[in-house]
Amino acid sequence: MGAYILRRLIWTPILLLIVGLVTFLLNFYGPGDPVQIIMQQYQDPAVVERVREQRGLDKPVLVQYGIYIGNALRGNLGESFKYRGQTVASLIGKRVWVSSQLGLAALILSIVLGIPLGMLAARWQGRWQDTSIISGALLFYSMPVFITAPFLLMLFVLWLGILPSHGWGGLFDLRVVMPALILGLPGIAFIARMSRNSIVEVLSQDYVRTARAKGLHELRVYWHHVLRNAMIPVFTVIGLSLATLVSGAIVTETYFGIPGIGRLALDAFFARDYPIITALSLMIAAAYVLANLIVDIGYRFIDPRIRYD
């Protein structure tokens, strides 16, 4: 197990180097030039050339990448092109924290509501409760943010007047409710459907019949024999979605005026803000590597049959 984790960890920086290089190449060879965007319609070739030189953009792409890696290893991720004079670290740091908190709130909501709903649906398999939970879940899963957000805004802000319409105050602030609900809805639906299907499948296994035949209490059957096995695929989904915590949610964040990473990422892309784009790619790639590792290690605890040698 230890050797396995070590091997995975050694591969991580190599993977990140590759992700960084691909990002750099795409930036370099893709259309659009950050200097042109800053200059808008004032395209004095001499000025564009001067600014490109000042930003180090005139160097060959591999040299630029080498300089970037060198600086990054010293903890310097550079300065934003768009937000002039501001460092990438100061721009990203706080926003990642905000986005992760919001993502976490949504994730907790989807687990806390999704799994019990799935269990209930499985319990009443084929009956009207099952159908309504699962079709309700499907409905919420398919509803885009630009429908749920205005609806919740109308309900909570304009009619009931109990929630502020925008802003951010952390996990323990009323303003987290609506965005977390909106981001959590698809998660609730997805996890509910997945848990239901998984539980239904496990319920038909022989060992469950054996457990029941032994005269075990139904709750005990569920807790010890069904859930533990049924949760493996659900756990995978939850684990992998940990990575999305840092990538932010563009539409929801914009709708509710939340200073998260999503909006910054979008603006950075359109402004060809290479330092921000590269830093975000690396961060999100690292988050996926980490989430995968967590899932793999987690399996070991849920299902002792799984071994890594």
């Binding site: 200097v35 200059m39 768009k82 004079g85 802000v157």
Partner: protein, 526 residues
């Protein structure tokens, strides 16, 4: 009148004056609105409206624009211009102070201009706004430490020499690139602009990127302190109409989708609706005059004559824009209301097309592709759809639309690769030179249509140095008339803030077509 009475009145007056000085000005409180994230708060790096709206409130320069858009004194109380019209001598105000109380001196001005021109500052606007000053280009090229055209005479006197007589030079000095900074403040840290020591009517009280900006009144402001205590800008976005109706913000623009509901006389909101004057900008379809079929002036004119902009503006765009018939927007210095431009005349359009070298049969016309900037698959504007339909109906011309993401669009525009493109020009400073010379002089780098007319060049060059304003504007008028006739652009709109909702307690919020310091005039009346 007896001496005692006079004395009493005098004392009463003095008390009143003392009272005024001590008490905060009436109408204070907090104004709250949405704002867009500024790219920077460093004036010398400012090149966009989102940054400028904050920067002009916190900082200032030698001169500024008043609400009538005239160049007026700011840190300088007066100036004189030499007889060759190349040297400007500014006298600084005695009471001009930075926010920390330090007096503004001529050395601060010199240091600031040299900092803007320092290649290490990475300013992208310095060439445009300060490039006329002798020595700025040498400093930018790294050939000189100083800017030779800026000379300190004494603490309160500074002399600026430019390379040729240019009447519009003063207007350029109102842009943030020419603003005066405090050297100690700037050299204190790399992100100094998050705790700036400016000279403007407001201090930056709080800046949380992505969240909010709070401006606070600077009580010693030399042009008269603001009445508001604070101005709060939410930067994170949100849903403006909901926030306005929920009393979370006091000012918001109204989009096309909400306009009918807000305009409905039975809605209480209709009483809070204000119409903004059109902004100082002109949107247009540029045509590359060297690419067929736009190499024929008659094709270009026909396209302009074939569209009924009045109808599109009033119906499709619900009156949120003003149809453009001139290049200079209404109200802009040098604007000539009597220039008629090319007005809707489908008969004439068909006739012109028939007379062109391509003939009346649209099938013989080279394919036309209109490139529009856009992102995330946004729809082509309804106005463009209507115009394309008019070309089809009136001339039988089918124009293809190609949507390109903005960064790519700019690259192709710069390389003059686009045959026809949709874009707008926004005024940087209130002088006709900013539109006509920059966009239509054959040697200008901003002339993306490749338009060239020696007579226009001659008029524009004469206008650069003409000292008399009336004569100068007359030259621009003649140039504009010729350009309109040559039709390198299909003029579209002078867009503006359109409709704006303002809460009744907010008084004297001026809807101005250009970025100028405006919050110091606002007050609240509960």
């Amino acid at each position: 009148m007896k001496a005692k009475t006079v004395l009493t009145i005098l004392m009463a007056l003095m008390l009143l004056l003392v009272g005024c000085a001590k008490q905060p000005p009436a109408g204070g409180g907090e104004l709250v609105r949405l704002g867009d994230e500024p790219s920077t708060l460093d004036p010398h790096l400012t090149s966009d409206v989102d940054s400028a709206v904050i920067v002009v409130e916190v900082f200032g320069g030698l001169v500024t624009l008043d609400t009538n858009l005239k160049v007026v004194p700011d840190l300088a109380e007066k100036w004189s211009i030499s007889s060759d019209r190349k040297t400007y001598t500014f006298t600084l105000r005695r009471d001009a102070k930075f926010h920390n109380g330090k007096a503004v001196t001529a050395n601060d001005v010199k240091w600031s201009l040299e900092r803007a021109a320092d290649p290490k500052t990475l300013s992208t606007t310095v060439d445009t706004y300060l490039g006329d000053i002798v020595g700025v280009r040498a400093k930018l090229a790294g050939e000189s430490q100083e800017v030779s055209g800026v000379r300190v005479i004494d603490d309160r006197t500074i002399e600026i020499t430019i390379d040729a007589p240019k009447t519009y030079f003063l207007a350029k000095l109102t842009y943030p690139t020419a603003f005066v900074l405090d050297r100690d403040n700037v050299e204190a840290s790399t992100e100094w602009f998050k705790q700036p020591n400016g000279t403007g009517p407001f201090k930056l009280k709080e800046y949380l990127p992505g969240e909010l900006i709070i401006l606070e009144r600077f009580p010693d402001y030399h042009l008269g302190p603001a009445r508001l205590d604070t101005v709060k800008f939410f930067l994170g976005g949100g849903t403006p109409m909901v926030m306005y109706e929920n009393d979370e913000i006091q000012i918001t623009g109204v989009g096309l989708a909400d306009l009918d509901r807000v305009r409905d006389p039975s809605s209480p909101l209709s009483k809070e609706l204000h119409t903004a004057t059109p902004g100082f900008q002109t949107s247009y379809l540029g045509m590359n005059v060297s690419r067929p079929p736009f190499d024929d002036i008659k094709v270009r004119q026909a396209l302009s004559y074939a569209i009924n902009k009045d109808v599109v503006a009033s119906t499709v765009l619900a009156g949120r824009v003003k149809p453009a018939y001139t290049i200079l927007p209404p109200g802009f210095p040098g604007y000539s209301a009597d220039l008629t431009g090319l007005r809707y005349d489908p008969e004439k359009a068909r006739k012109l097309l028939a007379e062109s070298k391509y003939g009346a049969d649209p099938a013989r016309l080279p394919r036309i592709t209109l490139t529009v900037p856009g992102a995330l698959g946004t729809a082509v504007g309804l106005d463009l759809e209507a115009i394309l339909a008019m070309w089809r109906d009136n001339l039988g011309i089918q124009v293809d639309v190609q949507q390109v993401e903005f960064a790519t669009f700019l690259r192709d525009l710069d390389a003059r690769r686009l045959q026809m493109y949709a874009i707008a020009w926004v005024a940087d400073y209130p002088d006709p030179q900013n539109f006509l010379d920059l966009l239509f002089h054959s040697q200008s780098i901003n002339n993306q249509t490749g338009y060239s007319n020696p007579e226009v060049d001659r008029l524009l060059e004469a206008a650069r140095t003409e000292p008399d304003e009336t004569a100068r504007f007359q030259l621009y008028r003649q140039a504009e008339q010729i350009i309109l006739e040559d039709a390198p652009w299909v003029l579209l709109w002078h867009p503006g803030e359109g409709y704006v909702l303002i809460k009744p307690e907010v008084k004297n919020y001026l809807l101005l077509p250009i970025v100028v310091p405006r919050y110091r005039f606002v007050y609240l009346e509960k």
